[in-house]
Symmetry: C2
Subunit: 395 residues, 2 copies
């Protein structure tokens, strides 16, 4: 065996996802990509704002010494300061630039955080449904992810979280707006979670961190805002990226921010910087750091996503699907009309519609549709969903 046993095991266990991708690719090859409605990929399709591209060109033309050279592992001071300033409003807390570390997207941020806080066998609690990569991120650093089923309408299940906490619990990770459910956890739920973690930390005699993975924070609709976590809990960490708010997913630029009053602030920050360095990130991509130092606060045209959401939501509801209207992100997470969501997604393939089973997000019984697709795909899908609904949802 030339490859690590665990990797083989992981690849085998996730092979059904790969298989579905391959089936989707085969469908596209057979019928033509434009004949297949592909709702599987959360790849932001609203363009990066032109003023951001113009700024990028300006930076390249500026005579900055060692422009593309190494920099402090924590990032360019200007980027860290810009974000700290911005977080004062967003997190309603006086944030220190020392606590902001530039990372290779939110995926990089989460790996850095997990590496810095996990001892072997430590547990991280994730309310489901959640981004399934969290499992691998925890495992990378010797930890274990523990899933907690959600409350009604994908709300935070505080009793479930309380019951899952034990002396090995290191952190609770939330994702709001949520991938895949589109739910934003309201302020009252977040505040109650903060109180719970405060109590439980005392009870078990160790800090339980609250990690808030927020890459969809700016993709919100109907005037709803994502409540901040810093005011409700001191030992909290934000992970964020510009993947969605500036459609820069492939450029791998994001950050983490530690609450300024977190326990052992300095040591933890040093741990994050060390982890960022030795995991091979070294530093977040430099040119993109310079860019976000100037463009933080700019956001893609969110109304485009809202329009697509509204159009597809109306179609799904009319077709008889049971689906919560998402307040943020760009996913629907409808209930599967068949008990087995993998089976239903296979049925959808027969209609040339590609979706991801909820099982891929620790949310069996549902399926995910990413609506960051072109309007033509949505329009083409509407009569198909109607037909599918007639077959599976009316009964």
């Amino acid at each position: 065996m030339a490859i690590a046993r665990k990797i083989v095991d992981f690849m085998e266990r996730s092979s059904w996802i790969r298989k579905m991708f391959e089936e989707g690719a085969a469908l596209k090859a057979q019928y033509g990509a434009d004949q297949v409605c592909d709702f599987t990929l959360g790849n932001p399709d609203v363009p990066t704002p032109p003023e951001v591209e113009e700024e990028l060109i300006r930076i390249i033309k500026e005579p900055i010494p060692m422009k593309y050279g190494y920099m402090p592992n924590a990032g360019i001071p200007a980027a860290r300061q810009t974000i700290a300033d911005y977080l004062k409003d967003e997190q309603q807390t006086e944030v220190s630039a020392d606590g902001v570390i530039m990372t290779c997207g939110a995926g990089g941020a989460l790996n850095v955080i997990f590496k810095a806080i996990l001892n072997p066998g430590d547990e991280i609690i994730a309310p489901s449904p959640y981004f399934v990569e969290y499992n691998f991120y925890a495992d990378n650093h010797g930890g274990v992810l523990k899933s907690v089923a959600p409350g009604p309408d994908f709300s935070l299940n505080l009793d479930g979280i309380a019951a899952a906490i034990n002396e090995k619990t290191t952190a609770v990770i939330i994702n709001s707006p949520n991938n895949p459910s589109g739910v934003i956890f309201p302020a009252a739920e977040i505040a109650a979670l903060g109180r719970l973690l405060e109590e439980k930390s005392k009870e078990i005699g160790r800090v339980i961190y609250l990690i808030s993975d927020e890459p969809y924070r700016k993709l919100v609709y109907d005037g709803v805002a994502v409540p901040p976590i810093f005011p409700v809990y001191r030992n909290s960490i934000v992970a964020n990226s510009y993947s969605k708010e500036l459609s820069l997913a492939g450029e791998r630029i994001g950050y983490l921010a530690l609450h300024p009053e977190a326990d052992d602030f300095r040591q933890l920050v040093d741990g994050f910087i060390f982890a960022n360095r030795v995991l091979g990130f070294v530093n977040a991509p430099g040119l993109m750091q310079r860019l976000v130092a100037r463009c933080h606060g700019t956001t893609v045209d969110v109304s485009t996503y809202q329009r697509k959401r509204d159009r597809l939501y109306a179609g799904l509801v009319a077709a008889g699907f049971e689906v919560k209207k998402p307040q943020g992100a760009f996913y629907f997470f409808p209930k599967s009309p068949l008990p087995d969501d993998v089976e239903f997604v296979r049925e959808l393939q027969k209609f040339k519609v590609l979706a991801v089973p909820g099982s891929g997000f620790a949310g069996p019984g549902y399926f995910r549709l990413a609506y960051c697709v072109d309007d033509a795909t949505i329009e083409r899908s509407l009569p198909i969903f109607k037909e599918v609904g007639e077959k599976f949802c009316r009964g």
Copy 2:
């Protein structure tokens, strides 16, 4: 304790390096940065070629759909193909684009490789002196780095490597041109290493990979070339980056390439792609991938480094230092005139010269000078080295 025990331990053990950095920073603050000769940082200072920056601007202006979006975790096909084509000459082997994976620099590549091949407790052998981050990279993924002392003049010590191999050995990692010694391992040494690994793999009944970390491949002088590893050993992997050859160190762009005839080629490639994904890299920065797809083969002006090397080498030799003339990279690794290299580097600080002790590279008894600095620093250092030499090297 809010932070993982291992991280605390690592940070404490490497605290002397930090302490030296802090002492250096204090010196600069006290005397002014331009009064201190700082030879500690391997940060390429020869500018990125202007045609590369122009190409970057052209790419930004092109109407490429989803230009900054997610892409396959292995990278943009055009970049992988360009590099594969190029490697045909460089590695004198027909390389498949399937075996090329774009990474977040060579540091990212090495973490991806280690993650994919290491089972808990597996060992990686590194001939010293070596880039000390290898220790952390191996540990990140449950492995252990084993150092093997070099032969004369920092040559490969094949007997030492042979003696270090056991049933836990997963790979041997070499770095040529070497950081810190500047040595290029000659073709005969590489060929002998290939034969040794062939034999030993059979003997222990598992594949021992040869990993060649080659970020300095293009920074070579006096017409010397770096011999390829693919022709001498089938189970070999190249890790490389554009940090030095295009002075893009902060942009985190590099790649790994697997020998097309490696055992279990497909499974290993899938393992690399999986590791690239779940470690949080997701993909190498996209814009830089597009750039190297077009600019691979372009190199910074290496004659600048050669000029600096020649000037400083003459000065060091005249001052009485025992130092091998480096054939590549941008470092000198002179013998420390005091038995304790850390003590000698502290002495150098008194002369306002900053260097790194060889102990930081598993090469005690030596010290490293990075000569990727401006000419003024080199000129200012020459009389100082003369004075230091008179005090420590004569007599």
